[in-house]
Symmetry: C2
Subunit: 295 residues, 2 copies
């Protein structure tokens, strides 16, 4: 019987160690910058995205070490996005996972620049530390990660979220927003692992579907948690999204229907992995876990 909690704990430990190893040391000059860079990454987090990259790599029979630099790169991008999202000009958040945000600790100028460094460093990490993969695959991974971060992904979703604030949006806009804001990076985390693990085009395509579905499940579950969650568990004030009247799944469809939609997305993710053998068990478990978690 596969034990997801042990798996997540184990992966998180190797990922945390790799993040620490790849990041420039905090003694590097100028220390103000590199301390902020490391703070933004090493303050904790579930490491869901890099875990997905390693799990997808293993699901297609690859060696997780090949995907480790990309797994960390995706986490650097996630950390960069949190640092910039928290800035006064954007969400203006003082706390993140119960800790002061990067700009509260290091000031706004350093926070902006530390985010910039992390974004660039993600692409340096992919190109510099990946071993035993063909350069054309690594380049394709770099291209997809870049697209999912910027012009065809996360930042696009962030802007749609921003311009939608304070007004009710329709389901289609909300889906587009989430598919970009959180979905694109989750999806590319999965697909990159499949590519680096040597997956066939069919396997990579199945992983794309899996990635899309868990992205959706994750977002709906997040929206639900934001309403029914418990402040200490998620480390930020509950209901903050509702206060700012952001459009959410529960806001648009109600809690019951939202739970159904999350479950459907999770089931769809598991179904996409039907052709895979036991090595995809971690991915299947993660898809189920995403809609069951309470933090």
């Amino acid at each position: 019987m596969f034990d997801l909690q042990s798996y997540l704990t184990e992966k998180r430990a190797v990922i945390d160690s790799a993040l620490d190893r790849y990041l420039p040391p905090e003694e590097r000059y100028p220390q103000e910058l590199f301390r902020a860079v490391r703070y933004g990454v090493l303050q904790g987090g579930k490491r869901l995205r890099p875990t997905l990259t390693l799990a997808a790599c293993e699901a297609v029979g690859g060696d997780a070490e090949v995907a480790m630099p990309t797994a960390c790169a995706v986490e650097f991008i996630h950390a960069f996005s949190l640092i910039h999202d928290d800035l006064p000009a954007l969400d203006n958040d003082d706390l993140r996972r119960g800790q002061p945000t990067t700009h509260k600790v290091f000031g706004e100028p350093i926070a902006i620049l530390a985010g910039d460094v992390l974004l660039a460093y993600a692409f340096q990490t992919i190109a510099q530390f990946t071993r035993d993969a063909s350069p054309s695959i690594v380049l394709e991974v770099s291209r997809r990660v870049a697209a999912a971060t910027g012009a065809e992904g996360m930042v696009v979703g962030q802007v749609v979220d921003m311009i939608s604030e304070g007004r009710q949006v329709d389901g289609k806009t909300m889906e587009f927003m989430h598919a970009n804001k959180t979905g694109a990076l989750l999806k590319v985390a999965v697909v990159s692992g499949g590519l680096l693990g040597g997956g066939t085009p069919e396997q990579v395509s199945a992983l794309e579907t899996y990635g899309e579905k868990i992205g959706l499940a994750f977002q709906i579950a997040d929206d639900i948690l934001d309403i029914v969650g418990d402040e200490t568990k998620i480390g930020k004030p509950v209901g903050s999204d509702l206060e700012q009247r952001k459009s959410t799944y529960p806001g648009l469809y109600g809690l019951t229907r939202s739970r159904e939609l999350a479950r459907q997305a999770s089931d769809g993710a598991v179904a996409a992995l039907q052709p895979f053998d036991d090595r995809a068990e971690p991915l299947r478990s993660i898809a189920r876990f995403i809609v069951e978690r309470d933090s």
Copy 2:
């Protein structure tokens, strides 16, 4: 006799056309974002960095088209850095090349995010649009551009500049600051062209030296222009760096000695190209031009 002005005009036209072609169209949703992205890039500029990439590619006998996506990527990174540098939390500039800065036109949140998109898009552009080069070379270029942008380059220099503001720094610190803040991207622009053009390791190494020297010459000349320049020509208030008491070459060494240092750097850049044939004439001319320009 080689005519640099015609060369620069011609390259600038093909670069402007390529920038326009590679960038997402401004009609793309959300338009607020893509209009800002394009504004940040297409508001003008001498296109010095991408011109260096193309010229270095041709200097080693390569086809400039192979280097065009990377040339544009370097310009995207330059544009991203200007957008973020101009932000209220950093230099707080309202004008850039005589035009309102991106955050003045589109607001601070969009300016931050448009900069982020451009940075990610640089790496997408290198990976997606480069043709007829080996993936391992393209990956090496991507790695070097990422390093020169962030953890081993531009942003590091920006932070050193920031923390040095208001106090006199020594020559060594100032050199480190400039080598990173402006030098690293200029150097990688040159070296990338050499790599993509199929240059030998010796040629690439000579181009590295050339890139370092013109970076230094460019910075000293910029510092001199900032003092003796003419407001309308450079499009920002003259002496603004001195007012903010940033350390400059003229501030540290005086105008006469600074002019000598700029000339030495320029001569060193030309000397590094000694093994190259006539195809390096544009690079030689650019090195001389950098210390002679008046804007």
